[in-house]
Symmetry: C2
Subunit: 330 residues, 2 copies
């Protein structure tokens, strides 16, 4: 069986050379353990942060050890009385074709309620991120204007739909006309801006948001954040959820200072990490599942096939090749 | 009688040439009005923002019209039944030796409870700024570490003392050894850093705050803010109260992008403008007055004499020539 190790901490953009496929013997579960077969692997921008050797909200990945992320796996052998052969589970697990785990740290999921891959996306960390980011930091009120970057992405597309459920005007930013079209037709955004073809993103935001921005859900950072800040209303809130545009920089990049703008407009900017709110995951997932059943929330996913393609799928995130949640089906 | 007009919107650092002394006739109060004689004039960094022609939290000053700020004045004639000759009032008033006002927009102050100049400082907007900034944004808890910039200034010196009252470790940043000495001996700070002589402010902060920073009360912005962010703890709060280090820049200056740090450490940065909390002024001033009576809060003021010296006193703020509240006694 194969496993994927991190063998190099990349400077700048990661490449396939940072990963190595290693052959291992398929493990045998001890008493109390489960043997899992990997079915779906989540690849996410935040993993880039874990490839660094520096303190972050989550411990760095070890060098010459397996990569890890959220997975859906099938229990193919159980020596734990809480799990049975044929159960499906999710958890933060290793990039291995097979692995043994104790019965802790994995949660059962129901294949009949939603497709298994959804538990890595809309009913997993990305859906919860969208919901709790808006809930805990956004303080979004009916009638306000919500701007979302990475709008066609896994988190952004859910954020926009929740904004519409809450009765807000929702504008999205994404990197292709196809994506802009999709956020409007599939996800119900009121408008969209293609940041790759715009002449002046700040002007385009001003035109799309004539009443200014009350809440900006930021998945990208960088110059799009600058343009959003320039268009925020007094008492605006910025949910700093991601900064994919700068994750590959080896030094902190420079940008216009924000402190003058924050003071002038009494703006709140707050870093959001979904892991800070683990105790709220249950109610959040229930709410999203309810909205899905009511037909108010839909989702996109890009499913890449094959264990060997996990590293490339991860790299493709930084090119924006996914729409919606990027998942690898093993 | 004299009045001081703004005659030029400065690019960069303001100068005496931006002001003009204009002779006017002393006004006569109409029915319902008061005639005021200016006694004390508050000069404050935020006034720099009002000299620009751009939207801010407070309207721009008009060109070729009188400057204005918080004043203490004496009622020398009253045609309003709520005020009497000999009353003292504060309010946002013009830089004029004498002026008439309607009975609204000024508040009586009691000369027997505190020196009149204190109503422009510790018992005025600066004291309230310190108190409400910590209260509304800082969410300061006992045992936490509080870092304050502009620590010997009008706001900073009160912030530090409130931090000590709340049972926190308090470190201040200021621009001379004399100021550092004063914040420790007079205001009870646990330590101080002279940013003008430090080799590496980030290292000095790290050494002074071995447990990291939980709350940073920022009066200066710029590189000191960068150094503070580098030393913030997870869930840290930054109160963006002032940014005097960048107020004189004609374009927004560049600095290291903050979004990655905010996300990594779940930091909240929030612009604070005391005028957003007018309804809380009463209880805030009462609390500060109580602490003063208990001997827990003291204050510094730099009193410059003479109406003609108001513009120079304002300019001296940007050189850090004041310690504590800068006030002009007319």
């Amino acid at each position: 069986m194969k496993t994927i190790h991190l063998i190099n901490r990349p400077e700048g953009t990661p490449s396939l050379n940072d990963f190595k496929f290693v052959e291992e013997e398929k493990p045998t579960p001890k008493e109390g353990e489960l043997l899992l077969k990997t079915l779906y692997v989540s690849v996410d921008p935040y993993i880039r942060g874990r490839m660094r050797d520096t303190a972050s909200y989550i411990a760095p990945l070890e060098l010459n050890a397996p990569m890890e992320s959220q997975l859906v796996a099938e229990v193919i052998e159980s020596k734990n009385s809480n799990f049975f052969k044929g159960d499906f589970v999710t958890g933060m697990l290793k990039w291995k074709e097979f692995q043994t785990v104790p019965g802790t740290g994995v949660n059962k999921v129901d294949k009949n309620k939603a497709p298994l891959s959804a538990y890595l996306g809309v009913l997993g960390l990305t859906g919860v991120t969208a919901y709790l980011g808006l809930e805990k930091i956004g303080d979004l009120k009916e009638g306000e204007t919500l701007l979302v970057s990475g709008a066609d992405g896994a988190v952004g597309s859910i954020v926009g739909q929740i904004g519409k459920i809450k009765g807000c005007k929702v504008i999205g930013i994404a990197g292709s006309d196809e994506k802009i079209n999709r956020i409007k037709t599939k996800f119900g955004f009121d408008g969209g801006i293609n940041y790759k073809t715009t002449q002046n993103i700040s002007n385009d935001i001003a035109n799309s948001c004539p009443d200014g921005i009350d809440v900006y859900f930021d998945n990208v950072g960088g110059e799009i954040l600058d343009a959003a800040l320039a268009n925020m209303n007094k008492f605006g809130r910025v949910i700093n959820c991601g900064a994919i545009s700068i994750y590959n920089e080896s030094e902190i990049p420079m940008g216009p200072r924000v402190e003058g703008t924050l003071i002038k407009k009494s703006i709140r900017m707050q870093g959001f990490t979904v892991r800070d709110y683990v105790k709220d995951f249950g109610p959040a997932i229930k709410q999203i599942a309810d909205w899905m059943q009511e037909g108010k929330i839909t989702y996109s996913e890009t499913i890449v096939e094959g264990f060997d393609n996990i590293p490339q799928a991860f790299l493709d995130l930084f090119e924006g090749k996914n729409h919606g949640k990027m998942v690898v089906k093993v």
